[in-house]
């Protein structure tokens, strides 16, 4: 802290420190603690706030635990988000490798522009595109029936639709970090491995993947977190059978008006994401500083 005031002078340095404190306290720490506080208290009418019933308990969390379907939806959200993460990785890895090691600079910059354009657009518009494609009378069913691959139209809204829409929505968050780390690999290492007789799969398993692990970890962490916390894709492309945990949170807030229970569900989601992030970083043996930069 001293260095800051020394470097920029007392008024300017103090100003910087104050701004940072305001941000971290007012927009990050205290709101999250308030959420936890809400989560641990019962939902009471305004007159009883601070009264004898207003105490801490785990009731809101136990409600989630004991609920016949909410716990299940929670698990399914984790499972589906993991599936989205794996799927996105499989879709992105070959292209990230190609961009990082094989393509010419011209090809790289052309493709990067092509890639970023859909992602500079609204997330909701990306969802809308899939909403149109997957509609019961929509182009996908029409094409598949026309080609004879389907005898009659299929309802795509639901798990499949959410999966396709999410993988699409978060593609770039997986692709760019992997591309970045693959591009730092010296191509001579690949040539050397090949000269020593390694096949394509072995080269990827033993040379490219280990080298790119920081990028892969970053991509997986972000994709999983975005998927688990997404509201748009499940709301637009889902069906009653494919409800997402975030939809439950929304309903507690704006349908049932029980903010305390909503807060408890929010805390649960936050903890899940923390555990997933830390777990993935540990799994890939990557530290936070190199994963997020």
């Amino acid at each position: 802290m001293n260095e800051i005031t020394q470097r920029f002078g007392r008024p300017l340095g103090a100003c910087f420190i104050l701004l940072v404190l305001l941000w971290l306290a007012g927009l990050v720490l205290v709101p999250n603690l308030t959420m936890l506080d809400f989560a641990l208290r019962p939902n009471l009418p305004a007159t009883q706030l601070g009264g004898p019933k207003d105490g801490y308990s785990f009731d809101n969390f136990l409600y989630l635990w004991n609920h016949p379907s909410h716990g299940w939806i929670f698990l399914k959200t984790i499972w589906s988000s993991a599936l989205v993460t794996v799927l996105t990785f499989l879709i992105c890895y070959p292209l990230a490798y190609w961009l990082g090691q094989v393509s010419t600079p011209r090809q790289t910059s052309a493709l990067l522009v092509l890639l970023t354009v859909p992602y500079l657009m609204n997330e909701v518009l990306r969802g809308l595109a899939w909403y149109i494609i997957l509609a019961f009378d929509g182009p996908l069913n029409a094409a598949l029936v026309h080609l004879g691959l389907l005898s009659e139209p299929v309802r795509w809204y639901g798990d499949g639709g959410v999966l396709a829409g999410m993988a699409y929505a978060y593609l770039l968050f997986m692709l760019l970090p992997i591309y970045n780390s693959v591009s730092t690999l010296d191509h001579a290492q690949i040539d050397a491995a090949r000269d020593l007789g390694a096949g394509t799969l072995r080269i990827h398993r033993r040379v490219v993947l280990p080298h790119a692990k920081v990028g892969i970890a970053t991509g997986c962490v972000f994709t999983f977190m975005l998927a688990a916390g997404s509201y748009m894709a499940p709301a637009l492309l889902g069906a009653p059978g494919s409800r997402w945990f975030t939809q439950l949170i929304y309903d507690w807030f704006f349908e049932s008006g029980n903010w305390n229970r909503g807060a408890a569900y929010g805390v649960t989601l936050l903890v899940l994401c923390l555990v997933a992030v830390l777990g993935m970083l540990r799994l890939f043996q990557v530290n936070l500083t190199s994963a997020v930069k």
Partner: protein, 293 residues
């Protein structure tokens, strides 16, 4: 696309009687190449087809946006877009929020990067973890935490709260971008200016800020995009305000017409023009030696 990930191992020409056997022996090489080509086409289709369909549906007479069946080509939806007061209002609301987010997150993000880079060791990694934590928090959770805390202190849902909630994580983006640029800053320039009698504030204003300019311009751009496209966080803090993403999503569920597609088309066109300009400027900068440092 000519050079595939598999390096051309045996490029010498075979004698013609051996050609057949040669081809067979090269099958393991040719097959992955063919697979990559197929994959490449699949990837581009997956990436771009949804957008093309979204755009094409703008010109279909059908009042539900689709491309099958084609009921005749029309530009009436584009004309309707410019008459639609609601959309313009939503656009205005998004613009106000984005302006607020930029006004908060550029200074705070810069201050955060400066504070961070003048710390060392454990204090630095702890602060770093806190500063990037909003990026690893699901948007829904940021929304409800902000709502719960700020409502307690008297700020209800609306434009102001949307600005605060979005800033909470957009500041992290700005911080990362500024910090990346700061790594290349030569501190001796500051010392030289101080030695020549400049005040600390003057040094900051005339040396550090101009050096950070490219990062700040980029950060401004990212902040604008992130703010405009944000849905998950804004959903909880918007109050009765209807920014663009919220407006589009609400239309998708009730009363979707190709006017929304027309809006998407406009945004796409703007994005493509922006991306191309960006690339052109970047190229020009790179080819003029000394420019942009």
């Amino acid at each position: 696309m000519t050079d595939m990930p598999i390096a051309t191992a045996n490029s010498h020409k075979p004698a013609s009687p051996l050609r057949h056997r040669f081809l067979a022996s090269r099958l393991p090489d040719v097959l992955p190449r063919l697979a990559f080509r197929l994959y490449f086409v699949f990837f581009l289709t997956y990436l771009l087809l949804p957008l093309l369909i979204l755009a094409a549906a703008t010109f279909n007479r059908s009042s539900f946006p689709t491309i099958v069946p084609w009921l005749g080509t029309t530009d009436m939806w584009i004309a309707a877009l410019f008459r639609d007061g609601e959309i313009l209002k939503a656009l205005g609301s998004s613009a106000v929020i984005a302006a607020g987010v930029i006004a908060i997150s550029l200074p705070v993000g810069t201050a955060a990067a400066l504070v961070l880079t003048s710390l060392h060791g454990r204090a630095r990694s702890v602060l770093y973890a806190m500063m990037v934590s909003p990026l690893l928090t699901p948007g829904v959770v940021i929304g409800i935490a902000t709502l719960l805390f700020w409502r307690k202190v008297g700020v209800g849902g609306g434009v102001a709260l949307s600005i605060l909630a979005q800033s909470s994580f957009i500041i992290s983006f700005v911080m990362l971008m500024v910090a990346a640029r700061l790594q290349r800053f030569d501190r001796t320039m500051e010392d030289a200016a101080l030695g020549l009698g400049a005040s600390r504030v003057y040094v900051f204003r005339r040396i550090l800020l101009p050096f950070l300019r490219p990062a700040l311009v980029g950060a401004c751009f990212i902040a604008l995009l992130q703010s405009f496209e944000n849905y998950n966080t804004t959903l909880f803090v918007r109050g009765t305000e209807t920014p663009l993403t919220i407006f589009i999503a609400s239309k998708v569920r009730a009363g979707l017409t190709p006017v929304i597609n027309a809006l998407g088309l406009m945004m796409m066109v703007a994005t493509v023009i922006g991306a191309v300009l960006w690339e052109v400027v970047r190229h020009r900068k790179r080819s003029t030696p000394g420019a942009g440092r």
